[in-house]
Symmetry: none
Subunit: 401 residues, 2 copies
């Protein structure tokens, strides 16, 4: 939606304020015993009361049947077509550990591995060495100097790290070096397009030096690189929608996704209470706030139905605190479903509500998958949520004469 | 959907099995007396019971208001955008009588006609001569030899036949020779594009020789050709979705449509009981089964409401037989609606159900247009059905990191 040139003149700046609360992994599925979903099981009186005064519906993050990762799930909510604007794995991994990525930087997922005296892979994960072993090795790799390229290596966890290359004319179109099996040598990086020849050479020089620097290590004596990626070149959300948008998120990946969309990130603490406090403190300074609630997704991914119910119940008391700020539009949306019964993200449409002074209720008495399916907004693409928010906030003028 | 390059890496081969039962002309409209549709009138306890344990919805075959032919209706269900991948009339006519078409072949619909001594059309249908008269004439036309082109003529019914041209560099971009009125001469074929010059010459040589061969006939003394068409060049369904898909269909056209989608066709008998028996016998050998039920459409086309009700009731007892095979996903879908009150295909959305171990029911108590409109899947494009089936079968990995 954000790409629609035809709408560019409709967006208008006003003092009204929009809060978009993204509940990560919001949607769920019925528990086989009760026949009720996590949202239907949870005691969430404030969300239910809000739904009674809201316009509700279901969002399709990408397409029916398509299970989105966090990247596509969030980009869609910000209005970007997730099939058009893809975030590569290396870039998302970097964003997930708060590594700054600038346009043109190439990020890759790296991992330490073990090779034998002939250079053949013995263990693709270097015995899963712990972070306290891998972090100093990352520091050592960071010393590597390559002409014309700034190089940084950031530990992620255990045997995993991020390589960031910064320089002119770098390309993400470089092949992975992990052969996915043991007994063979790691692959050299190869250019997947003519413009990537230089980058592939840089990567191979890095790998050569890494091998030498790690030669004496018992387990982590080599590295492999995957998922070379640059940031997608997105139109800035604030510029297109004529907003001053900010992000408040305790987890680095979601701050990263917000910066990809051109949002400013406001530093906050580690809990959702910290995030709400940050929202309160900065509420006068901006007109669009993306605030992220992570715990529901984590519990869903763990396959813990009761924990996901509890995480939703823990979110509920914050709703009145956010409402007290009197945003002109309050959205409660999800980037995707994470049904505990699947212990994973899923393709199911995600309930959402939009509360504004124009929403006086529609006979829905609770906030969940079943009720939102009956909501007045119906089923929409997640990319269309922003348009509705802008409309309810008086920020979207008439289209066409 | 099948064209979406972005999803190519999401498809994964697994042992799970999908059965797609296409009930031709499934959807209907309310009878003016009862206010109930064919599905609502029919006693279909097994379909109703299945719907209670399924996710339901409505498919839009092409666009709201657009009535699809059998070609677009089926291609959409297999995932092909029917506005992008069109099957020409000649090709569909050929598929409908089991004429083998290879890539590059050009097929045309032919009909015998009557011309006067000046070569002007007197009867565009040659007095609707019966098949037993036209079949020997088709054999005679099949004797025509044209340099560099293999030529075959297949009787269809009454005055209609199919001409198949096989050779190098043939093109479908040739104009029709039927002027649509009498009192004028049949038109010569003309190339509609430079690359069709050779094909138009071949066609005109065929018409010249046909005229000579038929000169002594009283009624069928000339032929006209329409709907020149080659097979569309579709990505094979099995290759894109990483499936081993097969088709079981008693009627040739549906076998033909399946081969266009790259499916293997399993020979079967003339009844749906034969088809189900074929499904049972081959169930272990493949992972995707398209099985086609024709009679509901035929009754709808006849405008016979009661007969369509009966054809749906006759389908119902086969549902438990298919369920007994324990497919991981069972789809009951329609290629389009054929309301008996219209005695024709129609544009109405078509009810469908998707049954898997993840569908535990959604409070729907019957399988028909009205209930499916309340289904948890909602209204989707028919092209999206395959994505949902693959998702429920565990054959569709997460999109994006």
């Amino acid at each position: 939606m954000i790409d629609l040139e035809q709408l560019r003149d409709c967006y208008v700046t006003t003092p009204s304020k929009i809060v978009m609360l993204v509940v990560d992994g919001l949607g769920g599925m019925a528990h086989p015993n009760s026949g009720l979903s996590e949202l239907e099981t949870a005691r969430i009186p404030n969300l239910d009361a809000l739904a009674r005064k809201s316009a509700c519906g279901l969002t399709t993050p990408v397409l029916p049947g398509i299970t989105p990762g966090s990247g596509p799930g969030h980009l869609a909510l910000f209005g970007y077509d997730p099939l058009k604007h893809m975030i590569g794995r290396g870039a998302l991994e970097a964003l997930g550990i708060d590594v700054e990525l600038r346009p043109g930087d190439v990020a890759a997922r790296g991992n330490f591995c073990t090779v034998d005296s002939n250079g053949l892979l013995v263990d693709r994960r270097a015995g899963r060495i712990p972070t306290n072993e891998s972090a100093p090795l990352c520091e050592r790799l960071g010393q590597i100097e390559l002409e014309g390229v700034q190089l940084d290596v950031f530990p992620v966890q255990d045997y995993r790290f991020v390589l960031r290359l910064r320089g002119d004319s770098l390309s993400e179109l470089v092949s992975e070096t992990d052969p996915q099996i043991t007994g063979v040598a790691p692959l050299p990086a190869q250019p997947l397009s003519p413009e990537a020849v230089g980058t592939a050479q840089v990567v191979n020089r890095f790998l050569d030096q890494a091998k030498q620097l790690l030669a004496e290590e018992e387990r982590a004596n080599m590295v492999m690189l995957r998922g070379f990626a640059q940031l997608p070149d997105l139109p800035a959300m604030g510029k297109v929608y004529r907003l001053d948008p900010v992000a408040i998120a305790a987890y680095p990946m979601y701050r990263g996704l917000a910066t990809v969309a051109g949002m400013e990130v406001i530093p906050t603490g580690h809990t959702f209470a910290d995030e709400v406090e940050t929202l309160q403190r900065h509420f006068n300074d901006h007109d669009f706030f993306f605030i992220h609630y992570k715990p529901a997704d984590a519990a869903g991914e763990d396959g813990d139905f009761d924990a996901k119910v509890q995480r939703l119940e823990e979110l509920d008391p914050f709703i009145p605190q956010i409402k007290e700020l009197e945003p002109d539009v309050l959205l409660v949306v999800g980037d995707h479903a994470t049904p505990a019964v699947l212990a994973a993200h899923s393709w199911h449409p995600v309930p959402f509500l939009l509360n504004s002074k124009l929403t006086t209720g529609e006979g829905i008495d609770a906030f969940n998958e079943r009720t939102c399916a009956m909501g007045s907004i119906g089923r929409i693409q997640a990319t269309q949520v922003m348009l509705l928010a802008l409309a309810h906030a008086g920020k979207l003028n008439k289209f066409g004469p």
